[in-house]
């Protein structure tokens, strides 16, 4: 049974800070009992599959690394309407995906959740290696606190 709220952690833990979303969702899942109305999903580099993970939910919270022209480690909370994508897709491959376009498609198909909130985290390093950079690692508790307060607000 789908729960009304879903938290998706996006990214690849083999690509250093790109894995921040997956790292955070794994940590949040450890006290999932506190949030009986929330599904926590490690969505990896989910691409189009995100469409199905958010369908039928009241609220979707997406955690992802994001190039936002901010200092490394900066977390920003935003909605899809508050940004536009600067990503150029070659459209040569199934493997290029833009989360914002997936959300646009969900909207168009009438499958978008009532509310979508994105937590973007500016990466310090994106390269083939496991483990987060020190800048992000030092802020993990702060990121978790921000996302938990979003969850408390959802519950309220």
């Amino acid at each position: 049974m789908r729960k009304p709220t879903v938290v998706l952690g996006l990214g690849n833990p083999l690509m250093a800070d790109d894995g921040i979303g997956v790292d955070l969702v794994e940590r949040l899942e450890q006290d999932a009992d506190r949030y009986p109305a929330v599904d926590f999903i490690d969505a990896g580099v989910g691409g189009m599959s995100v469409l199905h993970m958010i369908e039928g939910r009241r609220k979707a919270i997406l955690i992802d690394s994001a190039c936002m022209d901010e200092a490394p480690g900066t977390l920003r909370r935003f909605t899809p309407e508050e940004v536009h994508s600067t990503k150029i897709l070659a459209h040569q491959s199934l493997h290029d995906a833009d989360l914002l376009r997936v959300l646009m498609l969900a909207e168009q198909l009438g499958q978008a959740p009532g509310q979508v909130v994105i937590f973007g985290i500016q990466p310090q390093v994106v390269e083939v290696r496991q483990g987060l950079s020190g800048v992000l690692l030092d802020r993990v508790e702060y990121y978790l606190a921000e996302i938990r307060s979003e969850l408390e607000r959802s519950a309220g």
Partner: protein, 435 residues
Amino acid sequence: MAKTVNVNVHHVTRVEGHGNIVVNATNGKVEKVEWQVPEAPRFFEAMVRGRSYEDIQTIVSRICGICSITHSLASTKAVENALGIKVSEQADKVRILMHYSEQLQSHVLHVGYLVAPDLFGLPSVVPLAAKAPDAVMAVIRLHRLANEWSDLIAGRTTHPVTLKPGGLTKFPTEKELRELLGRLKNCVADLKAVAEVVLSAAGNIPNFTRETEYVSLKQDDPPTYTFYHGDITSTDYDGAVSIHDWQSVANEYMNDQSTAKWTKWHRESYTVGALARFNNNAPLLSPMAKDVAKMFGLTQGCCNPFMNSVAQIVEAVHVVETSIGMIDELLTAGIKPENVKTSPKAGKASGCVEAPRGILFHQYEFDRKGNCVGADICIPTNQNHAAIQQDFEKFVPEILDEGEDAVRLKLEMLVRSYDPCISCSTHMLNVQFVR
């Protein structure tokens, strides 16, 4: 009319899933045609060194978000071959079901989201959803079914968690399999609807052929349209090569145009993927899949790379129809619990499966403690780069008179038809705040 054409589809750093297309022609004379793949070298092979044989699958499943089950299966088979671990018939069957879910997922996405917009002259699936909402909804229902099918058997949609050397950590229950069976039977109508819609625009599939060597798995015992077991064959070769000798098939080499390795076997290039499997194994397709191939006029020996997408539709039908039969067999036998224990030892071996986009090879070497001391992975997309280059060289002079925009579009469509996997390991957001 003599044409001057300059196409330079060149993508800057941080654009994902890209290769560069360069064409220069002056007064009808082609001066340069290049498929450039400025992909960063992959370091995943280095990442598994020193890791236990039990951890390899978890790591390599993250190489690719679309083919994570395929990478998991290839690596697990390689580990089992290296350590001499046997797998039960039941586990083997459930793994093939898992693999089929990814074939359906990937093929439906590729045809629905990338190829269909081309055939209808639209830039992406977003406007297509407005123009042909029923067809797009059928694609989305099929994709959702395939995702939930992966969830059930692999433990989640991407990056499977139920695989382990020797079997699976968890089997679906008979109740779950019965539910899946019902859903697979019901999805046939959607598969037919997607095939009909693509057929309605099939006149826009470019008419281009180039004599090509097609390489795939083949399985004689029992004869199977295989994605999982068997040996390596090609349309230029009557015999079969053991998957353990895959390096003698791939013959990887470096090319100035690319940081990815290219491959060749009996010719200057070969092609892998759905059309390669079809060309080597078509008589073994399921009855409904054969009907769909007939509907499109797809026959064995087809050398039009654009028809790869049609072969994907045929295979989508095949995996659904075949899975229905396999689930029946599993239910008849009943699901039995398994508790396989494995222990480390030294060894070196390969594992091979068909990714949706073509044959995939993994090879690992382990020391006596079962820690990885060497790895070699050869992905299908790299095996297709030389073929894409050769297609470009033949195709460009044939379409030069159509002008720059048509040349650009048709070459992009050609690349898309190969369903490549390029730089797919990260998908960061790139955003600007508007308010």
